[in-house]
Symmetry: C2
Subunit: 247 residues, 2 copies
Amino acid sequence: MSSSRPARLTTRQSRPAGIPDATVARLPVYLRALTTLAEDGVATVSSEELAAAAGVGSAKLRKDLSHLGSYGTRGVGYDVEYLLYQISRELGLTQDWRVVIVGVGNLGHALANYGGFASRGFTVVALLDADDALIGEQVAGLAVRSIDELESVVAGGVHIGVVATPAAAAQGVCDRLVAAGITSVLNFAPCVLDVPADVMVRKVDLSTELQILAFHEQRRAVTEFGEALDVTTGPDPVAPGLTELAR
Amino acid sequence: MSSSRPARLTTRQSRPAGIPDATVARLPVYLRALTTLAEDGVATVSSEELAAAAGVGSAKLRKDLSHLGSYGTRGVGYDVEYLLYQISRELGLTQDWRVVIVGVGNLGHALANYGGFASRGFTVVALLDADDALIGEQVAGLAVRSIDELESVVAGGVHIGVVATPAAAAQGVCDRLVAAGITSVLNFAPCVLDVPADVMVRKVDLSTELQILAFHEQRRAVTEFGEALDVTTGPDPVAPGLTELAR
DNA sequence: TAGATTGTTAATCGATTAACAATC
DNA sequence: TAGATTGTTAATCGATTAACAATC
């Protein structure tokens, strides 16, 4: 198999610059599945097996991988470690990414202690908070520093800013991160962050996820009862506390 | 405006059963923007203004809202409180959703203390953990209980299970939740959960988000330097610790 | 009526899926 | 060679977007 692996002679034309967003979003899932397989000592995996481990269809998996290059072997499958490396490289995980966490409340604590950070090429270089009472406290091996140091910390080299402040403080913190040169922000605050077009923001939002689950639970209830309860045409089902919103 | 608001006489035909997934995922964002507007005392908002507050285009906003019904007034805009109520109702937030959190580590703590839970119709009814040392500890006004009580807690009425355990324990916990009758799961553990087709799982994954940011940061670097560094054709840029993976 | 803004249409775009030729 | 599985094609599906008729 080693001898038949395609030589890495791919030209720029052969791999189009743009990997679809939907594919990029799934690469971390494949990476995780491959890591588990590698730990279990599995050397080779078929698209069918890997897809099952990642929770997607095999056609989608093969299509996704085809955007990276031809890293499989027909009739055999994919070499687990080789594919692991190729996806890591594609995601930029073969280099170290320096992260600053702003806001060391419950969530900031959890993030700082999250094991997945260090294991995959992400290094938390500083924890910042506006609360003087927290400053100096040791969290995950780092002393919490003042938000006043944001600019100097970023100047020292930071790639990604994590916003874990209350919503009211988030935009201000984000503005300072961006002004200091940060171009990638992970936002845990429950608000929309306004940034220049060249800054990428990703958002993790607990209540959004819960609300989406609630929507589907509700829909399930309606369907199960054969739409006996017609929320569209019936009187408004008004919950306590929402009465004043109904007309 | 009150008098010109369309009467709620919509028939089943007029609102197709299925609201697109992409739309459902954005409704919580609109809800949040509307809540802020309502707090600021704004009575009416145009699609242009609301879209800006939510960080989307106005055409997309109007298209999304059109799936719920005709809740706006041409030439005027949307009544903030009325639209707030309609979206809340659509998402199922006019009823109370009972949530159990399994795993009271750093993240479980953060989730339990998260204010957004209670404010939007979600009630945490129990915190469960497998660690005896934690049992009885007060977190966010609740005593942590043993994982052994999972089945009895769910039997007492729970709609949504939140998995905040280590990855190794997640599938087992999920199986027990599902066996006990839970059909909506929010998974914070870094693994894929295997569930029956009728169970809905949503996943929140910090390292996935970081990896997506890393991908774009890396791409940015390549683009900025005019592809002087060609990662496709050049020798593999091997980072320490990944050497053994490269061929 | 004139101005403003919605709700809808139709075109475009991107993602998914199944089938299968290529090939190990 | 025969069996297995990839990588790609083409069809389908769903989401986005701009433009504008409807209408307040």
